[in-house]
Symmetry: C2
Subunit: 581 residues, 2 copies
């Protein structure tokens, strides 16, 4: 595949992230050897892409639309930054700097340059990462060029210009073709999330980074508009995005079929990356809520098996009936169980780098404020008031218990704000400071706890976490009359192995009290939800396809498990959305 | 297209059928001129297929699997028989006899012959029609050969043998490939309706004809098993068949998606032809009920616009949301409105020949019994007891009124049985003979009225025709919690133009009395069904994709129209299956 260098680079970034918290010398040595290999593969002028160096040296930079050279470069840059952060070593930074200089010599608006940009965005956000550690303006400039040129007609579209140069004639690509690449309009005119969902969310992430750096309010507003369209019109309740397997893409508002959901694992990860950037700019829990939804549920977590080795999902459906998924041609991308491998192996290294960098998503801080975005146990340090402040989080919070405790370690008392997120899914939070319940001001879903902190001060957060009955917007026709079960940030589903076949026959009694039980021996330990449903009396069913009577119903116990843990007990039916009695 | 000769032949058959009841000399002249053209196109040895004569004379009979030579021949034979029935002229019979002799010389089990059979069945039933008028054994023999060879391994599969001869090597086709052609097993071992639905039902029709002629009980039992699988596991409530656009095929039991229904118009017609043959052999209303369902509803009637000129449906979905149908790649075959033309134009001449031959489906008779299968006004004559007996049916029965009247004209009193069908959808029928209510014996859904009939005797049938609430077998997951409305043989649907957008939001109150009204000015005059439904209060809807509350609902009047008449008022939403309150 033309983009296969990126698999190595994503693996490298994963290693680099892991070195940030455990500087294992063996891994570091392997990494350095890989850097030497890449140095050997890099050409004199800085060019670097083994697919073209080996197979088609004459075709470099001739098809930016499809050839992924800039995409691969972006992933290498991300790996370089992560490694520099972990080790302070600059060899790989020098290498990518040489590569970027080459790219900037070939692509640009000067005479003799190609005014092109990548068909698969990714390099934009990587350039901004490089800028962050080098403060070299060239990275911003190139990023800005790629973002601003995208989708313009000067008067021709760049994808047509390069097509003509390749001898393909000026076959005008249709709008459909352009929107697949988010190149149907200049980015500042885009208002809806279109096309290939990974490309889209990588692009939007880069746009946020650029807007943030340039204080470009207009561009940031574009990101906000695209965000609202994505999460309020085109996102599955799992946090998955991209509802069409054809072109792995967004389609239209409220088109969210459950059995033909695409919701690529990589797209959920990209949504997390985008959300992470949005909340850095504007501390609003609406972004973190989506980040958490995608992280704990669809795509990111459901993408891999519980042991990490039992295969992965490229596609994360919300409803599977293996009987049809295994036979219908229009469901051929939907696999009813995780697979050992796919021809395109983009997802596994993406999951790996996400998990290895999870720490980045839990906190953020500036000189006077520490944000607590996610409630995941661990330790973190921040530089505030000229001292290093350590935050220890003890959490059995989500998924299972609505309780977390933060302990502050510092050398001398200091005044700053600790701002834990109050999740949108929680109707009632108690905040205890040093064991005492306190009322604190809240801004956009973040509690603002400002005080002079003493060593060993604690903040406890107690979240109400009842079973919530989730319903879709009425325009989501496929979910009409159906509900999903959620508890805390965890979305649930029914599996055949627990509930028998024909899950669509069940009608959940939603006016009941659900029973919530932690089952230690189940699926590495999960909290299950038990309740009652009505089901057709199987003994009464006749062998008639259409009838004019109603079958008697019986009451049935149902048991829901976390969606992320489905498909770890063999091929079977699954559904997130359950009919409501 | 390789099968385009058949379009002409289906047109010819249509003309021939129309000549049977109106011997228009202009049309007969045109037909005879066409016969001359075909005579000119026929080669010396009897071969006839313009695609191969003109384009690939070297490739005759080299790809029976895909090349449609036998399919086209079959359609010509059907046209010939219809024309002979209408005019008694034998020129076209001679022509097809010459063609059949040629086919029988090339294909067969003798040394030097090819032991092959058509990839697209059709010639089988045509040969049996030729046998009926000629009583020439050669037609049965060839038909039997095609049917019995199908799917056998001797030890190789014929489709592999011819592939190898074409130089394609012995690439073993998969079972999937074979079942598309109903050639995965010898026909006597087939138990489920598989593959391309038109091919399947043409084949099964030919099998019934052959079994009937040979009194082959085993083969007839195969047809019965295939019938039960088709109508009790794989048929839409509209009478449409074939639930996958890929390969226009049957899939698996209970896989009947409404929005991606394929239900090709030609397949509904082929099902009618098959049902017609089944009921000739075994007078059971279960066959006729399906015949009528397909005829009045899905495919056959919904396939064309009300004026016959406003375009046609190749694909007849049961649910359309143009918003997604126009954008989703996996729905690209589903057109939200009838189209002027399709690249493959098989359906229009098929509808034409069905409508022109409708008379064949209304009655059947033997020496002592007249069956009344359908309740359609008109006149028919039968030879019984050595006299011609005329039956006049005055019917405003279905669709709109549950009443029909048969008047018997005869020269002298005669004893025979009149057996009107008692439709399966009707719970209560009154039978009046000469105005008096009579109890009559019933056998498999046919009333048996045996008596000495006098001239001007009348039989009236009064059918109860309330609105019926139809439900699917619980295994049809997509219809769980949904109902369809039917009245008499007519299946109803909701259209957006009558009910507003978002039909899936409506929850029909099924415990109400529905109002049934004939609307003279609507859709050429239809009886509509009015009732009440609950709908989400649109004013309350928020711009949130997922919520944990329930929106208030309002009551809404709904109006259902006959499914066959949908899509005559512009592109809009439609649904057959309605959520039940």
């Amino acid at each position: 595949m033309v983009f296969q260098d990126s698999d190595l680079y994503k693996w490298m970034e994963t290693v680099a992230f892991s070195l940030q918290w455990d500087r294992d010398h063996e891994w570091e040595k392997i990494f350095d050897e890989v850097v030497s290999l890449i140095e050997d593969a890099q050409e004199e002028d800085g060019y670097l892409n083994t697919y073209f160096s080996v197979n088609h040296p004459d075709k470099k930079w001739t098809n930016l639309k499809d050839d992924h050279e800039l995409y691969c470069a972006g992933h290498l840059m991300e790996a370089a930054v992560a490694y520099y952060d972990a080790t302070g070593k600059t060899r790989i930074i020098d290498l990518v700097s040489h590569l970027v200089d080459h790219i900037a010599s070939v692509l640009g608006k000067q005479k003799g340059q190609k005014a092109g940009y990548p068909g698969h965005p990714e390099i934009e956000l990587a350039l901004m990462k490089l800028y962050r550690i080098t403060e070299d303006q060239k990275y911003i400039d190139l990023c800005q060029f790629f973002i601003e040129e995208r989708g313009k007609r000067n008067p021709s579209h760049y994808f047509d210009i390069e097509l003509e140069k390749r001898g393909g004639g000026v076959k005008k690509s249709s709008n459909r073709n352009y929107d697949y690449y988010q190149a149907h309009l200049p980015v500042r005119e885009q208002k809806t999330a279109e096309g290939h969902s990974v490309r889209a969310t990588y692009l939007y992430s880069g746009m946020v980074d650029l807007a943030n750096e340039l204080k470009d309010k207009e561009l940031l507003d574009v990101c906000r508009v695209l965000w609202e369209n994505t999460v309020n019109k085109r996102m599955y309740v799992t946090g998955g995005i991209g509802s069409s397997s054809h072109e792995e893409r967004f389609t239209v508002d409220y088109d969210l079929p459950n059995d033909r959901a695409y919701t690529e694992t990589c797209a959920a990860i990209a949504l997390i990356m985008w959300a992470h950037r949005m909340v850095q700019i504007e501390a609003d829990h609406k972004y973190t809520d989506v980040l958490e939804r995608a992280l704990y549920n669809g795509g990111a977590l459901s993408g891999i098996s519980l042991d990490g080795k039992g295969g992965y999902f490229y596609v994360n459906p919300l409803e599977v009936w293996p009987h049809t998924a295994n036979c219908r041609h229009d469901m051929r991308t939907v696999k009813p169980t995780r697979q050992k491998w796919f021809g395109c192996a983009c997802c596994p290294p993406n999951i790996a780098r996400l998990l290895a960098s999870l720490g980045q998503y839990i906190y953020s801080a500036n000189d006077s404020e520490v944000y607590v975005h996610l409630f995941i146990g661990g330790e973190a340090s921040f530089k505030i008031d000229k001292q290093s402040i350590r935050l220890t989080q003890n959490s059995n919070y989500p998924p299972w218990e609505g309780r977390t405790k933060l302990t502050i370690d510092l050398e001398r008392p200091a005044t700053f704000t600790v701002s834990p997120r109050l999740p949108g899914w929680c109707r009632n939070v108690q905040i205890l400071i040093n064991g005492e319940i306190k009322d604190v001001p809240v801004d956009k879903g973040y509690a603002k706890i400002k005080r002079e902190w003493q060593n060993n001060d604690t903040i406890e957060l107690l979240f109400d976490m009842p079973v919530e009955i989730v319903r879709s917007h009425p325009e989501v026709r496929v979910n009409a009359g159906k509900v999903a079960l959620q508890r805390g940030p965890i979305l649930y589903c029914l599996e055949e192995v627990d509930n028998g076949a024909n899950l669509q026959d069940l009608r959940l009694k939603t006016n009941q009290s659900f029973v919530v039980e932690y089952e230690n021996g189940l699926l590495n330990g999960v909290t299950v939800i038990k309740g009652k449903a009505a089901a057709t009396d199987k003994d009464a069913i006749e062998d008639k396809l259409y009838t004019t009577f109603t079958y008697p119903e019986v009451e049935k116990e149902i048991k829901a498990i976390p969606y992320y843990a489905w498909s770890n007990r063999g091929e079977n039916e699954m559904t997130v959305w359950i009919r409501e009695k």
